[in-house]
Symmetry: D2
Subunit: 146 residues, 4 copies
Amino acid sequence: MKDVVISEFEVRWGECDPAGIIYHPNYIDWFSVARMRFIKENGLSYMESFHDQGLVLVVIQVGLSCKKTLRAEDKAYVHARLEVCTRTRMQFHYDVYNESGTLCASGFTEHAFVDIPTNKAVNIAKRNPELWAILQGLPVTQPETH
Amino acid sequence: MKDVVISEFEVRWGECDPAGIIYHPNYIDWFSVARMRFIKENGLSYMESFHDQGLVLVVIQVGLSCKKTLRAEDKAYVHARLEVCTRTRMQFHYDVYNESGTLCASGFTEHAFVDIPTNKAVNIAKRNPELWAILQGLPVTQPETH
Amino acid sequence: MKDVVISEFEVRWGECDPAGIIYHPNYIDWFSVARMRFIKENGLSYMESFHDQGLVLVVIQVGLSCKKTLRAEDKAYVHARLEVCTRTRMQFHYDVYNESGTLCASGFTEHAFVDIPTNKAVNIAKRNPELWAILQGLPVTQPETH
Amino acid sequence: MKDVVISEFEVRWGECDPAGIIYHPNYIDWFSVARMRFIKENGLSYMESFHDQGLVLVVIQVGLSCKKTLRAEDKAYVHARLEVCTRTRMQFHYDVYNESGTLCASGFTEHAFVDIPTNKAVNIAKRNPELWAILQGLPVTQPETH
């Protein structure tokens, strides 16, 4: 099990705006990549264990704090960790560092388990007890303080 | 002057994800559209008054809360208002309603004034006194409580 | 029936790149909006008549020609028409004009009817005879020559 | 010098549409990443050698052919090569393969050299003779036939 999973990015030309810097919603998109990678490196595939089971980790809350800009071709590293994991909620924390190790952004996403066909929030322990058994084994840790 | 400026959207196919619902970073993208529209309907063009002057309203903080999903072809209305306007900061609040008037999402963006060539935060009253004179006239109001 | 359906856009800040102009893949995204609008203004909802029936108009070929750039806050008008409609293919043509009526870009998308659950191309006359009856009534016209 | 430069991608959740497959404009976005990587692996940085010099390789023509779908978490490999390089034009060809080596998509982008401040096409040999000297050394090859 890995407390922190690091995903590497290279800022894309199309991820930047006319100010020449990364357009901020793209950080939130990177968080999705980092979250799925966190899940995968801890033994689950989001697509197979959630999506193909008609489940979505729907986003109910997002926070983003931007400290330093990045531009196209810059390397970036998103450190993802799981902060909360209950029968009805998961919350992830993300820190984005540039190549020299400076914190550029940080944020969190809070999720509910939603059944895709009915579009209703579910108790994962009831809806998918086997998945819940696995989720309980995921490492829940608090973010680094800055 | 308009306290609240409403921007209309129709959810695009490409704004939705494999769960069939709007992908949440796109709300943050809509906020940019709604913010620029707020500025325009209150007498300024973001492109002419900020961008062409080498200024960017860089995002330093974002909050998003999602309450109800939207899918492709759904109409949505983003109500934007200005919450804070000082020499160094602007903060906008956004409420997203669907066609039947249900609140689907809400959020805020906090901005600093940044000089594009130097990538440094500036005091707008010093950097662009004429723009600051206009900004002081913008209607600052608090969001509706839900 | 409408031979040509016009969709209005205002270039979004997030649709532009560090060169300050619309990032070209976004034209292809606009084409999706324009195509769905064409279908809707001719009596069908893409979401209800295709997507909800487990059908996707999957893209097999795209062409795009860019003539004049657009920047954020510019208005643009996409003129969409249907060029080909057979039991296995649909092809649409798009012309993008700016506010002064100058052609900025044009392109086409060619589509096959694909069954989402099996991810296989289908003959729409066999798969959905009622939908095929309606599609046969759509106006097929050739693009304006420039 | 490398005739073909391979860029690796993992399809992002946000790059897929409600049909559960990669949304086709994202291939065109990948082409930009692959093109900049081609340039970089052949000794130039797009950001430093073009963008920072006020030059953009503006897109004038795009072609895309889709053969097989990809979904989120799938690996993909874009093989980029340079097909044409003159004083006024560059054309790149791209082939997208999945993890098992099947061709999923292919396409091309044709570019003009444009001066960002004036938004005018330029002869690169006159505008930036040193850059032109380097560009002449890039390997120009024809795409694999399929």
